[in-house]
Amino acid sequence: MDDEDETFELVRPGSDEDRLTLDLDGWEGPLDLLLTLARAQKVDLARISILALVEQYLAFIADAKKLKLEIAADYLVMAAWLAYLKSCLLLPKDPDIEPSPEELATRLQLRLQRLQAMREAGARLMARDRIGRDVFLRGRAEGLTVVRRATWRVDLYDLIAAYGVVKARTEPALHVVARRPVMTLDEAIQRLERLVGAGVEWTALEAFLPDTPDPNYRRSALASSFVATLELARRGRLAIAQEGIFAPIYVRAA
């Protein structure tokens, strides 16, 4: 237990909490805990005994369990893995095992070295002369000003076109509607209802379209009449037949 006391001290400097209430929150994961234990060996990480480290970790977890401390799953996963690694390292060499336990141990060592390197780098970074702590910027900088001067892009055409828009918007423009080559749905329904009448012969929808040279009007009439057939069929006034997709549509009185 003495070892662990020392470890707590190492990791939680300045912590004045009662050690019985300690859990594993003090560590940033199992790798962090391993690194702390490794540093307690007080040798270069490159020459550390992985086997001894594994023993320490497992002992630590066992102690934590005894104290009924909460142990997060990833610490337990690491413990299981280390127990496996330990058994592999102790058993006679089996060349069939890939990767070899030695390689796994080396990898662990490399990871600890990297974490250690970044931890030290972070500490050195934080210890630099930092603005607002060690060095200070000017307290009341006058500030530099950029005066933005807008130059507007607009020409005479924009101006008179805008006036045209205003005028067109406020003046009623009835003539536009009258000129549109459109057959409205109401128109189409009335027309179709009249033309189909009581005819019981299947007749192609096209036959009911108005005779017009204007292709736009013809297209509008076709669209409106098609919708009109659907509407009239819904009302039970006529029946629709079609042999296949895109085949001619036939109608007759229902």
């Binding site: 933005r148 507007w152 006036y163 045209g164 918007r169 406020t170």
Partner: protein, 202 residues
């Protein structure tokens, strides 16, 4: 590296304190930072002399000291940047209405446009130098009226307002055709800021 005229640490401390201070400091304030051992008064004298003629000067105002940039360099610290921007549609329409109907009040502009104009629109036109207030109209409320300026004529290459095309000209040019104009605006697509969804569709 140190030259013989390098400042001593007391002077340096006073210099740094004044530099970092958020407001002008009195001698006592400075002493509270730099400590007992420093002769603040003589440090200030040394600094004032050192900075004389530089881009930054140490000045005393009402027994308080601070650094400030040299007054003759004020013009350096501000620069102008020209930004070419497209006038919003609301502004162009408003300008056009003023040009065709001046002098015209804000309420009249809105009546002609059929849409309200936002506060900034007239400001922008006045800032551009194209529109000016043109007195108040006699009558209820005495509304302020607006008119165009000489700069407006110059910018748009007009000798006078009479050069603006009349309604007949506009119609002949197809500029009164709402469908075409609506189409044009749809394809224009320059991201108008002003939202005017009404009255577009014919």
């Amino acid at each position: 590296m140190k030259a013989p005229d390098d400042p001593d640490d007391g002077v340096r401390a006073v210099e740094a304190t004044l530099f970092a201070a958020e407001e002008p400091l009195g001698i006592d304030d400075i002493a509270a930072y730099v400590g007992e051992g420093v002769d603040v008064r003589s440090a200030l004298a040394e600094l004032a002399e050192h900075y004389a003629g530089r881009g930054v000067e140490l000045v005393e105002r009402g027994r308080r000291w601070h650094f400030q940039t040299a007054a003759d360099l004020a013009h350096v610290l501000r620069r102008e940047r020209e930004e070419s921007r497209r006038l919003s549609r609301a502004a162009v329409e408003t300008l056009a209405i003023i040009a065709y109907h001046e002098p015209v009040s804000r309420a009249e502009i809105e009546a002609i446009r059929g849409v309200q104009i936002s506060k900034g629109t007239l400001d922008v036109l006045m800032e551009a130098g194209w529109v000016r207030p043109a007195g108040r109209r006699e009558g209820p409320g005495r509304p302020l009226t607006y008119a165009t300026t000489q700069a407006f004529l110059t910018h748009f290459g007009l000798a006078s307002r009479r050069d603006l095309p009349g309604l007949d000209d506009l119609r002949a040019a197809g500029l009164l055709d709402p469908v075409d104009l609506a189409m044009e605006r749809l394809t224009d697509g320059d991201g108008e800021a002003e939202l005017e969804s009404d009255a577009e569709d014919a």
